[in-house]
Symmetry: C2
Subunit: 227 residues, 2 copies
C-alpha cells in the first residue's frame, strides 16, 4: 500500500517556483492497476519519481505499508527501491557501455552478484519483450522501441511488487504495445501492483482505474470497469 | 526532391548482419507531406538518418535535387544538412548544459553567430511550441514532453525546406500533439516538405501520403486523400 498525504513537490529557481505536485493525497492498494494520465507538464513523472523513492516530497509525507518513507534509513530505502520497485523511465536510462543482457541485470548489481540462474532469467525476460536475439547488442545498436523494451525488461528482473512505468509504450508500434500490455496483464494477475503513465487513451483503458492529473493536482479518478 | 535508388543500410557485427534498410527505391517531392510508419525495428529512423545526411547508405545512392549526396564535399554536405534540413530526433539530443533558448539556437551556431534577430526568432518559436515561459530552463528541469517540444523548435530555427520528424509527438498529450500538428500543417501550407515518423495512426492520417516499412523494405504506399 502506497499513500501520499498532502504531498507537494516544488522546484525553486531563483524567484520562480514550479509546483510540479501540489498538495496531493491519494492511496494505491496492493494489486491495483492504475493509469496516470494528464497533459505534458501536469506532474506525472514527478509523481512516479516520488513513488519510486527517486525523489523526495518538498512537503507532506509518503507512506509505504504504513511506514513514512522519510523515516527510513539509507539501507532500508535502498532495499525498498531496489527489491520491491521496478521502474521504467521515460528516457530509458540505459547504460551505453553495457549490452542488452547486462542492462537488464543492472538492478541485480545493486543487490548481489548476478549468478548463473539470473543470467538465464534475464535471457528469458529479454525473450518475453521480443529481444531474445539481440542480447549482446549495445543501446546505440537498437532502435528507439527496442531500447524501450530493454528498459521494460530491466524493471522486471527483480520481480518487483510495484511496477512504475513512465510512458512505457510511447515508442512502440501497435503490435509491440499490445504484447507489452499483455505481459503487464499477466504480471497484474500474478499480484503485481502497476502504475502506468501514458498519453495513449487505448493504453489507459487497459488499467482498472485512471487518475488524471492537471497542474500538479488530481483532476479526476475513475474506474475503467467494476472491481 | 529527395530520391533513394536501391539504398541499403547494413550493420555488420562480427558474423551478424542487420539489414536495417534493404534495397529501397523511392522519391519524395518538394512540398510533400509523408507519414513513415511501421513496426519497431522496421527501419524508420534509419531511413530518416540517411535522408538527413546523418548516416550514409551501405549500398545504393541518395540524390537531392538530382545531385548524388555521396559526391558532395564536406562544405556542401554541411550546408545541406545545416541550412535545408530540420531534424527532430527520436531521443531529442538536447544539450544538458544549455537552456531552452540556447538549445533552440544550436543549429545557428554551426552557420553563423545568432545575433539579435535570431534570439527574437528563437523566443517566437519557443512560444509557438508552448514553452515561452521556460526559455531559461535546462533540459533536466523540463518534463519529457517539454523536452520534445524544444527539439521541435530547434528543428525549425533555420526555416528548413525539409523537416524530418522522428516520433515527434510520442511524449505529448493529445492537445499538445494537436497543436504541434497544426503547426506542421501551417509549415506545409507554406511549402515545407515534411516526413513524419509516427506510431500513432491518428497522427499518420494528418499526412498526405503514408509509407509503411517492414523489415527494412517498403511494404506499402498510400494516399490519405487525393492531391
Ligand atoms: N547502429 C546500429 N547498429 C546495429 N544495428 C542497428 C543500428 N541502428 C539500428 N540498428 C538496427 O536496425 C534495425 C532498424 O532500426 P531503426 O532504428 O531504423 O528502427 P525503427 O523503425 O526506427 O524502430 P523504432 O520504431 O523502434 O524506433 C533495428 O533492428 C535496429 O536494431
Ligand atoms: N528538475 C526540475 N526542475 C524544475 N522543474 C521541473 C523539474 N522536473 C520537472 N519540472 C517541472 O515540473 C512540471 C511537471 O513535470 P513532470 O515531468 O512531472 O511532467 P509530466 O506530466 O511527466 O509531463 P510529460 O507528459 O511531458 O512527461 C513541469 O512543468 C516540469 O517542467
Ligand atoms: Mg513525464
Ligand atoms: Mg526509430
Amino acid at each position: 500500500v502506497a499513500e501520499f498525504r498532502n504531498v507537494s513537490r516544488i522546484y525553486r529557481m531563483g524567484d520562480n517556483e514550479v509546483h510540479a505536485l501540489d498538495d496531493v493525497s491519494c492511496r494505491f492498494n496492493a494489486g491495483d492497476y492504475w493509469a496516470i494520465m494528464g497533459s505534458s507538464g501536469s506532474g506525472k513523472s514527478t509523481m512516479l519519481n516520488l513513488l519510486g523513492c527517486i525523489d523526495r516530497p518538498t512537503n507532506g509525507e509518503y507512506y509505504v505499508s504504513g511506514t513514512a518513507v522519510s523515516t527510513l534509513n539509507d539501507d532500508d530505502l535502498s532495499e525498498l527501491r531496489g527489491r520491491h520497485i521496478g521502474f521504467i523511465f521515460q528516457s530509458f536510462n540505459l547504460i551505453p557501455q553495457l549490452n542488452v543482457l547486462e542492462n537488464i541485470l543492472v538492478p541485480r548489481f545493486y543487490l548481489e552478484d548476478p549468478g548463473i540462474g539470473l543470467v538465464e532469467r534475464a535471457r528469458d525476460i529479454a525473450e518475453r519483450v521480443g529481444l531474445g536475439s539481440r542480447t549482446d547488442h549495445r543501446p546505440r545498436e537498437l532502435s528507439g522501441g527496442q531500447q524501450q523494451r530493454v528498459a521494460i525488461a530491466r524493471a522486471l528482473i527483480n520481480d518487483p511488487s510495484l511496477l512504475l512505468a513512465d510512458e512505457a509504450t510511447g515508442n512502440l508500434d501497435t503490435q509491440t504495445t499490445e504484447e507489452i500490455l499483455e505481459l503487464f496483464d499477466e504480471l497484474h494477475s500474478d499480484g503485481m501492483t502497476i502504475l502506468l503513465v501514458t498519453h495513449e487513451e487505448e493504453v489507459g483503458k487497459r488499467a482498472e482505474q485512471v487518475m488524471r492529473l492537471k497542474d500538479g493536482a488530481i483532476e479526476s479518478v475513475a474506474y475503467n470497469r467494476p472491481t
